[in-house]
């Protein structure tokens, strides 16, 4: 005779999430990798097409922003919009570090197209954060596929 033990709902939910995490990669590692290198979080999970598209989009946007002579924000405690711009730029991870090391985006913004470039750089950072959080959700099982 076999008896079937019914699992409590909370435990069943945890098991489902564990099953969904088939990659076995730590969600925290996926989050940090996705932040540092655009698309790396999805690549760690084996989602290569998504990783390539995310990388092309975010790096492309950042590169166009730099090419348009957009501004790369530095740490500041002045205008609130400047502080938010710095927070957005930080989202690009190693791309931001590279830009600071190579002195990109330090010229003053004089034309409208350069202001567009500034926005491209900030939005690239914000999109990278969204992508890293999405990879974390996939790794933790909160997002199914």
């Amino acid at each position: 005779m076999t008896t079937k033990v019914q699992m409590p709902v909370a435990d069943a939910d945890k098991t489902d999430r564990r099953d969904a995490t088939s990659s076995g990669v730590s969600p925290a590692l996926v989050l940090v990798a996705g932040w540092l290198v655009p698309g790396a979080g999805h690549a760690l999970l084996g989602k290569w097409v998504r990783a390539a598209l995310l990388m092309a989009s975010i790096v492309g946007m950042f590169a166009i922003g730099i090419a348009l002579a957009g501004k790369v924000y530095t740490f500041n405690t002045g205008e609130p919009l400047d502080m938010l711009g710095f927070a957005g730029d930080l989202g690009s991870g190693l791309l931001y570090l590279l830009a600071r090391l190579l002195g990109w985006g330090q010229a003053p913004v004089l034309v409208a197209v350069a202001d567009y470039g500034t926005k491209f750089i900030v939005v690239a950072g914000l999109l990278n954060i969204i992508a890293a959080v999405d990879a974390h959700s996939l790794a933790s099982g909160r997002k199914q596929s």
Binding site: G60, V113, F120, I130, Q144
Partner: protein, 58 residues
């Protein structure tokens, strides 16, 4: 590098829509559909806002 204002809109919309499509939907088919919707809304919304600004200018 020099871009026209409209080509800047197109590039911004394209890249942003790709990321939105991938991150906000779970299935490839719905990702493409949502990405296309975002792209269309970005472009149409920007052109519409431009016309509104032109109409209300002093």
């Amino acid at each position: 590098m020099s871009l026209s204002h409209f080509s800047a809109v197109l590039l911004f919309s394209l890249f942003t829509s790709i990321v939105f499509g991938i991150t906000q939907r779970a299935e490839p088919k719905t990702m493409v559909r949502f990405g296309a919707l975002c792209f269309a809304l970005f472009v149409v919304g920007t052109v519409a806002a431009s016309w509104v600004m032109w109409l209300i200018k002093p």
